[in-house]
């Protein structure tokens, strides 16, 4: 187990952990806005760690650049789609809900 | 030179489709005339080359066989491509006068893609190429059915599309298993290397079910009556006469190319029972239909039953009976194509006369519009199989083959089927003989429509006189050689 292997496995595990946290956020958060927040932030960081782990044992420099390009593109795409979903949700005037409020309270408070 | 001739049947309609899409609508008729003429001339040239030098096979792209796709010319391919040329040109001519300008503009691209697919299927000797040809055929047929733009046409098109997709998936599954077992896709190599193991048996099972679904054989036929009955007249003529024959043609190719040996009897009699029930059930349903076009559509179901009867009559022990069965089947296919197209066009003319779809409105028609009824009658003669027509020769050969092998069940079914088909055709006639006091209040379809319907019916009768030419073609090339 060389040092690089250890570093790689740590990075991969933490990356996967971030993905799990992201999807956990998706399940737990009450409304769309916070869910988008959870997904875009956690998953990007998770992907960054995994890409870092892959770069450690990649042989050619070009391949490393390609991996970084993938990461940059995913970040751009998720930021854009996150914004679009939030923008569309705002158009449909979806309410911002507190964690313990149920659906009816929000609609009554909203009128 | 032969390379050009063998690929023209596919290239010409494809060029026709491209040009009819690009040029404005007014050039469509000229394009149709030129390309149809080219197709007929090419078919005649292939016929002469075939009768001179026998079957010819050429691999596309100049590669060796397992790599490239082989197109071949043999008796069956020539007969079927000439049949599709004749029927398609008459249906195109009929559509030119029958359809409104807007519909006609959409009709031509589908017509040319349909012809491309048909000629590919007649000529190709490669399993996967047949699959792509079948898909192209299905989509152009669905496009033609959906041309009606009304509720029934769309429902029929959807039902037809889903049934055909399931059928071609079964066929593709068969290809997957056969390729895994034998490692080749070309039909000729497959017939040399073929041996009936469980994998190839399952493969052929799926292929036959898929192809039977696309040919609307008895249990899998529910999509056909609304599709053929509900669509525009030239479309239902094209569908009934040509489209269902393409998947049956592949079934026949597989049956003749692959040596089944002793269990050919089991598979053949299974398919024969399906065919027999199709004849009885189809004729029975046609008998108690009230709509004219539905009667003709259900009679197509019955006639498909006759084609399926070829398989049980095949026998390896008695070569002459085997030859009779094949010749009878091919003649039945040919005469049905001509007669059914003529019958659908004549039924379309009758609808124009009465512009009501049910039978009771036909009263007094034979007095005032004898030509249309005559065309319908001639086509009916060939469907029933009365002596002068091609249908009779086909049935006669099938009966001979059944007698030779003393297979009484199929004999009885053939005769019973002819009786039932006579019943529902005379039923239509009985309505036209009723006198009406109202006199001649029927519209007059344009002469072109009447004569094109009559020409197809007369052709199916003439086939009876000149069927010896067709049979020479079949005997010329020893059928076993691909």
């Amino acid at each position: 187990m060389t040092a690089v292997m250890v570093a790689q496995s740590i990075l991969l595990i933490t990356g996967a952990l971030f993905f799990c946290i992201g999807s956990l956020g998706l399940l737990r958060f009450p409304d769309t806005y916070s869910r988008i927040h959870a997904l875009t932030k956690a998953d990007n960081l998770g992907l960054g760690l995994i890409v870092l782990a892959l770069i450690l044992n990649v042989d050619s420099f070009a391949l490393a650049l390609k991996l970084l390009l993938i990461w940059a593109l995913v970040m751009l795409a998720s930021a854009l789609s996150g914004h679009l979903v939030a923008w569309q949700a705002n158009n449909l005037s979806l309410a911002v809900r507190q964690p313990n409020e149920s659906e009816q309270q929000v609609s009554s408070a909203h009128e | 030179m032969m390379g050009v001739a063998i690929s023209m049947p596919v290239i010409l309609p494809l060029l026709g489709a491209i040009i009819s899409l690009l040029l404005p609508a007014r050039y469509n008729n000229r394009i149709a005339f030129i390309f149809m003429l080219g197709l007929v001339v090419n078919a005649a040239w292939l016929l002469m080359h075939f009768s001179a030098q026998g079957p010819y096979q050429q691999v596309m792209g100049g590669w060796t066989l397992p790599l490239g796709i082989a197109l071949r010319i043999d008796a069956l391919a020539i007969i079927f491509s000439m049949m599709s040329c004749v029927v398609a040109s008459v249906c195109g001519f009929y559509a030119r006068f029958y359809l409104r300008a807007k519909q006609l503009k959409q009709f031509w691209p589908f017509f040319w893609f349909l012809l491309t697919a048909l000629n590919t299927i007649w000529l190709s000797a490669d399993l996967f190429n047949l699959y792509v040809g079948l898909e192209l055929l299905t989509f152009s047929a669905v496009g033609l059915v959906a041309l009606g733009q009304n509720k029934h046409a769309l429902a029929a098109a959807l039902r037809y599309l889903f049934a055909a997709l399931l059928g071609s998936m079964g066929y593709l599954l068969g290809i997957a298993l056969l390729y895994a077992q034998f490692g080749t896709l070309s039909l000729s190599q497959l017939s040399d290397a073929f041996s009936l193991t469980t994998t190839s048996a399952v493969a052929l099972g799926f292929m036959f079910i898929g192809l039977m679904m696309k040919t609307a054989v008895f249990p899998l036929h529910t999509w056909l009556p609304p599709a053929h009955g509900g669509s525009l007249t030239p479309v239902s003529a094209l569908l009934s006469a040509l489209v269902i024959k393409a998947s049956f043609y592949i079934l026949l190719r597989l049956w003749m190319a692959l040596p089944f040996g002793e269990n050919a009897f089991v598979i053949g009699s299974l398919m024969g029972t399906l065919g027999g029930t199709a004849i009885i059930w189809g004729s029975w349903m046609a008998l108690n239909q009230t709509q004219l076009k539905q009667i003709v559509a259900y009679s197509t179901l019955a006639q498909i039953g006759y084609f399926m009867l070829i398989f049980p009559l095949f026998s390896y022990s008695d070569p002459t009976a085997n030859q009779y069965a094949l010749h009878g089947g091919v003649l039945m296919l040919l005469s049905h194509a001509l007669a059914k197209a003529g019958m659908f066009l004549a039924a379309g003319n009758l609808l124009i006369c009465t512009n009501k779809t049910d039978l009771t409105s036909l009263a007094g028609l034979s007095r005032y519009r004898p030509l249309n009824i005559f065309a319908f009658g001639l086509a009916g003669v060939s469907i029933m199989g009365l002596p002068p027509s091609g249908g009779f020769n086909g049935k006669w050969l099938l009966v001979q083959s059944a007698l030779m092998q003393s297979k009484w069940v199929w004999l009885i079914i053939i005769l019973l089927g002819s009786l039932l088909s006579a019943a529902y055709i005379f039923k239509v006639f009985s309505y036209t003989y009723l006198e009406t006091k109202a006199g001649d209040k029927f519209e007059q379809p344009s002469a072109m429509l009447e004569w094109s319907a009559l020409s197809l019916s007369v052709l199916s009768i003439l086939l009876g006189f000149f069927s010896v030419w067709v049979l020479d073609l079949l005997t010329l090339a020893e059928m076993r050689m691909p």
Partner: protein, 102 residues
Amino acid sequence: MNSYLIFSYAGVALCGIGVFGFIFHSHLIKRLIAFNILSNGVFLILVGLAQNAQKQPDHLPQALVLTGIVVAVAATALALVLIKQWYAISQQTTLPEDQEHQ
């Protein structure tokens, strides 16, 4: 090498699920999804079985599957256009004969 065979079995399972969905669903788009699953299953069998028999990655079935995927997309697009036109005319998402026991 027998990993190819495992994927052929996965293809068989996909075919089973596809056939079930195709026959069971009367909603046209769900039936179309089942058809796509069935075609993916058939492609898996085609490549998996051929490569298992040839004992090496075989290029011909892969080219066939490429053509098959494009034809499947064409079929899906055609079916979707027809379904939308059918819905526009009849306000139904199922064929007339499937409606009664909805």
